[in-house]
Amino acid sequence: MTLTPPAADTTPAPIGRRLVDVSSLPKFAFGHRDPLWWGVWLLICIEGTMFVMLAASYVYLRGNSSQWPPAGAANAPLAVTASTVALLLISIIPTAIAFRAALDGRLRVIQLNMVLVTLISIAAAGTRWLELTSIGYNWNSHAYGSVVWGFYFMHTFHLVSGVFENLVFTALLFIGPVEKKHMVDMRLSAIYWLFVVVAWTLLWGLFTFDSLLFRNSIIS
């Protein structure tokens, strides 16, 4: 094999070459055509796997204990935890509306619904605070406490980030200037928020309805 000497101009001249002119292509695209869409879904895969691992740890630890939850381990009052879940679930509606409206850039609709989402998410963060202060055990009380507080920690982290993201986004929508390609980001942010909602609904369901789900299992 011979080694080619360096050419003065290393890039082949396009004279006589056919060219694909892409200058007229759009500057953004929705859905899976957009690289950032992949970024967000991959992030959801990562975070989702973490939640799944935590939930699996819960079930695994549960299987190794004779009494689960331990005697006297009182969760936060159902009314409080359920209202957080309810708020989160309600927030899906304005999120979905804004998600649709983003497709054809109806700014007013988006602004209105994003304000709603932000307010509801702040309210959910408020009830979350109530939850945290009314849990009847600590993370260092027992393994059950550790894993449930683990759920709370992980999710509150996401919830706060979500609220922060909603706030910033809403501010951006009002401060402007709003570009067309922000509509793509708007939809991605909605997808992420949806993930935050769904993840908690499942985790909450797991530890709240524990006795209902596992009542029949016996220890050998």
């Binding site: 080694l3 396009p14 694909v20 055509r33 691992m53």
Partner: protein, 627 residues
């Protein structure tokens, strides 16, 4: 506009900032990729030095080179360094550098994420070594089994350092993986359908997916360990309902795929080298791709074979053996494909192909001992002995380091513009090959003679002395080889033969641009008509034009067939990602001493993120408010 003008304009737009400020702000994939590679090699050398100290200690029975306390820190740091700070980052670094070049684009999908990943990695690595040099290096093994690593049996800050280092490096690996997947899916040059991607790119893609699903598990585990230690949670505390085997399940659910995360890029480098130096496409492209995917898939199902000795359900053992043996089949396919390619190709003997031959001789042993270890009865005897040490060094050094060094020799011109010294390379590969086998082959025998792993010394009358001495001699030869490689790289980067664009007559697009590539990678983005674009390039192969020259615009194509889809602007250099990494770093390191570090780091990182994502002018295509 003629080419010269285009070159000037693109150079200005894609200008890489220089100096310290540039170091903190540049996000170009070649810069980040190169940084990953160089930093990883620094850690490789550190890990190697640790290995040599350990080998010196074990050269003679009842030796006193280091204390048992230091020895335990050394082997823990060695394992953690090689896995978390060398193998994964160096493979990802090569991916960051070469994937965009091989698929014909100017930049990765999320350059700022890469920048963030690099600084996370750096902080994590430095943290580990500050620990080691400050005599609070972790000493519970790279696997950190609880309860040994728990608050009761490892008081002090040592294991905390390990747990936080894990969090950091995994964040880095995850960031890189997300970026690589999006880049491979969306940035390919027009015409490069999935079916035409170079195998190396496939390897990076499969590896990245494995990272996405494996690493969260260890992050959860290390998080639990950290809270057990810092705020007295009870995840692994039996007395309060926790469970020690939970750690092992979570750890090995990550730990086994980790091996393939390192090995898969190795095999695809092997494919690249075999094809490049036989001037022949690899046999069975589809089979090769499916092998990679099957390996990735099965890699998630076999973690339990690290736990055969824990007393698993008897029934399960034959199932676990079966699934562990199953993973041999895709690897065997790759072996047969290389063999066939060599047979039908025209072999050009240059130093990179010698690394490939070493791979074959060495890795094959590692693979076959792997089949032995998959057998439960044999594993009960061999597990946690030096036989296993020999096995996984044969697999990881044979399967990943040899092809890596070969690939670096092959790609060296693309990284530096110059060729590595051929004669020195031949000496290097010979030293490495001999040194490696002299070091690790006797370890099989040692394992069969009953020598357990992770012992800082042994008694003189057990008959292990001679083989240990031999292994130590080999380790020094191997060390010499590694040193020679590094020296050769340093020297050749300055005074090596100027390589030109395509010194080897390579097949893939990275050879279609200058060496090293200009900041904009390609003057015109190329188009592709099959799997080996440069071998089948016709004079009228179309080029892409129409990308903006005044901003960093790149072409996004469709996932399956790489049809031009839309244009995407990648961000300019910025300090924000570095600040986010730094903020998270302050928080997580502070958390070792006080749990409030976590929220503080969270807030700091959040502020950095605001700067990262806040849109900057000029604003284009404004959205008119509709009635």
């Amino acid at each position: 506009m003629n080419d010269q003008e285009l070159h000037l304009r693109l150079s200005a737009t894609w200008h890489k900032p220089t100096g310290l400020w540039g170091w903190l702000t540049d996000n170009h994939h070649t810069t980040i990729g190169k940084r990953f590679i160089i930093t990883a090699f620094v850690f490789f050398i550190l890990g190697g030095i640790e290995a040599l100290i350990m080998r010196t200690q074990l050269a003679l029975p009842e030796n006193h080179v280091v204390s048992n306390d230091l020895y335990n820190q050394l082997f823990t740091t060695h394992g953690s360094t090689m896995m978390f700070l060398f193998a994964v980052p160096v493979m990802e670094g090569l991916g960051l550098y070469f994937v965009p070049l091989m698929i014909g684009t100017r930049q990765m999908a999320f350059p700022r994420l890469n920048q963030f990943a690099y600084f996370s990695y750096l902080i994590g690595g430095v943290l580990l070594y500050v620990g080691l040099f400050g005599n609070f290096g972790p000493d519970a093994g790279w696997f950190a089994y609880t309860p040994l690593s728990g608050p009761e049996f490892s008081p002090g800050k040592r294991v905390d350092v390990w747990a936080q280092m894990i969090t950091f490096t995994e964040m880095a690996a995850l960031g890189g993986a997300v970026s690589i997947i999006a880049t491979v899916f969306k940035h390919r040059a027009p015409g490069m359908s999935l079916n035409r991607m170079p195998l190396f790119v496939w390897g990076q893609l499969v590896t990245s997916f494995m990272i996405i699903f494996a690493m969260p598990s260890v992050m959860v585990a290390s998080g639990m360990l950290a809270t057990d230690r810092l705020i007295a949670t009870h995840f692994f505390n039996k007395a309060e309902g926790g469970d020690n085997l939970l750690w092992q399940h979570l750890f090995w659910f990550f730990g086994h795929p980790e091996v393939y995360i390192i090995f898969i890029p190795g095999t695809t480098m092997m494919s690249t080298l075999v094809s490049a130096f036989t001037k022949r496409p690899n046999f069975g492209y589809l089979g090769m791709v499916l092998s990679l995917i099957a390996t990735g898939f099965i890699g998630f199902g076999v973690w339990v074979h690290h736990m055969f000795a824990t007393g698993l359900p008897q029934l399960g053992l034959s199932f676990f053996t079966a699934s562990s043996v199953l993973i041999t089949i895709p690897t065997a396919f790759q072996f047969f494909s290389w063999l066939t390619t060599l047979w039908h190709g025209k072999i050009h003997f240059h130093s990179p192909i010698l690394y490939s031959f070493s791979f074959i001789v060495i890795f094959l042993i590692g693979g076959l001992t792997g089949v032995m270890l998959a057998s439960v009865p044999l594993d009960w005897q061999l597990h946690d002995t030096f036989f296993v040490v020999a096995h996984f060094h044969y697999v990881l050094i044979g399967g990943a380091i040899f092809p890596l060094l070969g690939a670096l020799t092959y790609w060296f011109p693309k990284l530096t513009g110059r060729l590595m010294n051929e004669k020195l390379s031949v000496v290097t590969v010979s030293l490495l090959f001999v040194g490696f086998n002299v070091t690790f082959f006797p370890m099989h025998q040692l394992g069969l003679m009953g020598m357990p792993r992770r012992v800082y010394t042994y008694l003189p009358n057990l008959g292990w002395t001679n083989l240990n001495l031999l292994a130590t001699v080999g380790a020094y030869i191997f060390g010499l080889g590694s040193l020679l490689f590094v020296l050769n790289a340093l020297i050749s980067a300055r005074i090596g033969v100027i390589a030109g664009d395509d010194p080897w007559g390579g097949a893939d697009l990275e050879w279609a641009t200058a060496s090293p590539p200009p900041a904009y990678n390609f003057l015109y983005v190329p188009t592709v008509r099959d799997r080996y674009p440069l071998w089948s390039m016709e004079p009228d192969q179309p080029l892409v034009t129409g990308l903006a020259t005044d901003r960093r615009e790149i072409l996004v194509t469709k996932l399956m067939d790489a049809e031009p889809d839309h244009l995407y602007e990648t961000p300019d250099p910025s300090i924000s990602p570095t600040l986010v990494a730094l903020g998270a770093g302050i928080g997580i390191i502070a958390a070792i001493f006080n749990p409030w570090g976590v929220p503080i780091g969270f807030v700091l990182a959040g502020l950095g993120l605001l700067g990262w994502f806040w849109p900057k002018p000029p604003h284009k295509e404004l959205l008119e408010p509709q009635p």
